[in-house]
Symmetry: C2
Subunit: 431 residues, 2 copies
């Protein structure tokens, strides 16, 4: 008998965990991703703030799975899934399956304001992070040469939109970058000129955490000099800055040359192609075994799935994705062996966010932890989960190094792929 064909869409935490759990079982697995690397997204803000190199937090998917002989990896674009014909539709073909695991995650969403993207990049991919890094470092460079005071202030105003974990971590990292980089490297600009402003439309930052932890995060951010503004709604973004509405309804304008969008994500449009009920966020409402209703051979896991537990939807965090990936793999093996599937139960180990050097908040197993201890826990767990011995070693060295020296290892302004398109031409005078 031919082994069953399993197609996994997405090489993130969920898809990769599922693939590993199917290794050496009598199935043929194809993992499809549109990038060549698994990205350790929780550290993306460190690339954006020049602390780590892109390669430190990403590993080629086919390297990770090289020894799993029953798994092949394809770099391809999935446009949809044809549930009726059990076939994954690619932009250049189709791939039949016996089982499919959809784990394509989220992408940045501007809630209908797609024009904002060019002024306020999101932070979901390596390319995003390199772009944010480039803009941030260029703002310092331009400020150093700027003689107009108003313009220099604009160049040194960094706005982060969205008070979730990404926004908090990025704002903290910018504040530290500003503080330590400005200290010695520039002659004309001064640390006190640079401002980092974190905007949150809701009532408090880190809404997924206990209220006391949100308060602690604000305090720790403010110690670093970050201005935290809650209840503040962004009404438009353009190349000169951000317009917003304050909690008391007043209009206000923030002039800024560096705006990052951490406010919204949306589920991959592949979800819509299924033709099954989605929730308001576009997530696929799954059965207790993470399968699509009436399609026990099709699973949706991670950020794309909607499943309630203890009266609340499971959050879009890496732990939910990884546990879901392992569970879907186990269910496929059960079906092949003729055993019954279980019900998915998420085991919540807790959540955490880092704010800076020795600063963090964490809720391991429901406990509350903040400051240095939370930061140590964060450090340990992130190193533990970082894929690949090599990456762990390099990141450990980078962190140890910057802890000792306050230096950043990856302060590069590069344009990469774009150099054949719109950037200053490499043949122009170099000076």
């Amino acid at each position: 008998m031919e082994p069953a064909r399993v197609v996994i869409i997405g090489g993130g935490f969920g898809g990769l965990t599922a693939a590993k759990a199917l290794a050496r079982h009598p199935v043929r697995v194809t993992l499809i991703d549109r990038t060549n690397h698994h990205l350790f997204q929780p550290l993306l803000y460190q690339v954006a703030s020049a602390g780590l190199s892109p390669a430190d937090i990403a590993s080629p998917i086919r390297s990770i799975l090289a020894r799993q002989k029953n798994i092949e990896v394809q770099l391809a674009n999935v446009v949809g899934i044809d549930l009726a014909n059990k076939s994954v539709t690619l932009d250049d073909g189709a791939l039949p399956y016996d089982y499919v695991i959809l784990a394509a995650g989220m992408h940045t969403n501007y809630f209908g304001h797609d024009g904002w993207e060019q002024y306020a990049p999101g932070l979901k991919s390596l390319d995003d992070a390199i772009e944010v890094r480039r803009r941030t470092l260029l703002a310092f460079e331009h400020a150093e040469r700027e003689t107009d005071e108003t313009e220099r202030k604009r160049l040194l105003t960094f706005v982060v939109i969205g008070g979730g974990a990404t926004g908090v971590e990025l704002a903290g990292a910018f504040a530290e970058l500003r503080r330590f980089v400005l200290r010695h490297d520039f002659r004309a600009i001064h640390p006190q000129e640079a401002r980092v402003i974190l905007l949150e439309a809701g009532g408090r930052i880190l809404p997924a955490f206990h209220e006391a932890m949100s308060g602690s995060a604000v305090k720790q951010l403010e110690e670093l000099g970050v201005v935290v503004r809650t209840g503040t709604r962004v009404t438009s973004i353009d190349e000169r800055g951000v317009s917003l509405t304050t909690p008391d309804g007043a209009e206000e304008r923030l002039e800024s040359a560096s705006v990052v969008w951490g406010a919204g994500v949306a589920v991959s449009p592949i979800a819509r192609s299924l033709g099954v009920p989605l929730d308001k966020q576009g997530r696929v409402i799954v059965e207790a075994d993470l399968s699509v209703p009436s399609h026990p051979e099709a699973f949706v896991i991670g950020d794309m799935m909607r499943l309630d537990q203890d009266g609340a939807p499971l959050p879009g965090v890496s732990q939910v994705a990884m546990q879901g990936g392992a569970f879907a793999a186990k269910s496929i093996r059960a079906s092949i062996d003729g055993r019954a599937r279980g019900r998915f139960h998420y085991f919540d180990k807790g959540i955490m966010a880092t704010i800076g050097r020795s600063r963090a908040v964490a809720e391991p197993f429901g406990f509350e932890l903040s400051g240095f201890l939370a930061w140590l826990a964060w450090l340990f767990i992130h190193l533990w989960y970082l894929i690949g011995f090599r990456n762990r070693m390099i990141v450990m060295f980078e962190w140890f190094w910057s802890y000792l020296t306050y230096k950043r290892g990856a302060r590069l302004i590069t344009w990469s792929g774009s150099h054949l398109e719109a950037k200053p031409h490499p043949d122009e005078p170099r000076g």
Copy 2:
């Protein structure tokens, strides 16, 4: 009295050495570069072949010079030098000087065929290297999914044009990448399908080396499976490959998806703005003290200068640039102190090129060395000169790691800056 104003154009080996030599002397130094980083160019081919990360071989210029309080760094574009008025012309202003050191180096030159650039990027900047890496890794990815045998062969044909040090090192690195990456990571393609072809128009590769060393390099390249073709002239490059003329005058066609141009460089156009005699390569013919004729306050160093020693022009290598930078700085200090300047004499420590793991050729102080010993010497010297303790540590670890495991640390396909222009949109389905 106001301290003398020294403007240095270019933060490469020459400019940076000059700046360091002027630190803590009673001069005000402005170093201008159009990138924010000093690039360790001899290792650029390792970024292009996914062995090192961009940040491993580049350091922010302002970090390197942060503690030199009399030096400021500006990210700016120099368009020319007005010798008569002692002023550097920027694209957005001008900078007066008492002394100027022009060290803007070379850029890739297609000898009038600028249309070739999009099909065959050069290898002079980090962006170039990231682009070559992207194309190389994508070729493997596309080949894995390609069912047409002719097209797969084209995707797996890597052509390097130019048998100088850059071309030789890149061809060797591609050959190793192919051999070790293909071994485990791909399912449909096989090592023997991938070809690396090194094209050289002249009679032998590495013409700067002794003839015996050229022969040894060919042998070592061939051991790695590189096809070395000398006396072969490229007549055109397009998106499908390269057309060439063989030594016996026949026309031939090489179908290839990855072509790298290492055949030509030209001096920065700033040289022309001086209005002084240039040599055939566009280099500025300088006096024995490296100054421009009739302009003792203006120096040209490194790849941009033409100076003959022992009957031959000094080569465009980092050692000439560094010694020239130190000499120009010393001459400026002499003039300020009212002392006479000396004559520049280049002390040749030798040249070297690496071909792969344990493979290299070197001519230290005129001796000939090849194979493992040459490689060890290469390793030691490159680590020694690599700027910054941190970079040295990371690179040492990367090399040690890949020596042990045959893995590459930086196998990333990124588009970076381009993502707001022409690449697949980040909001598209991820699969």
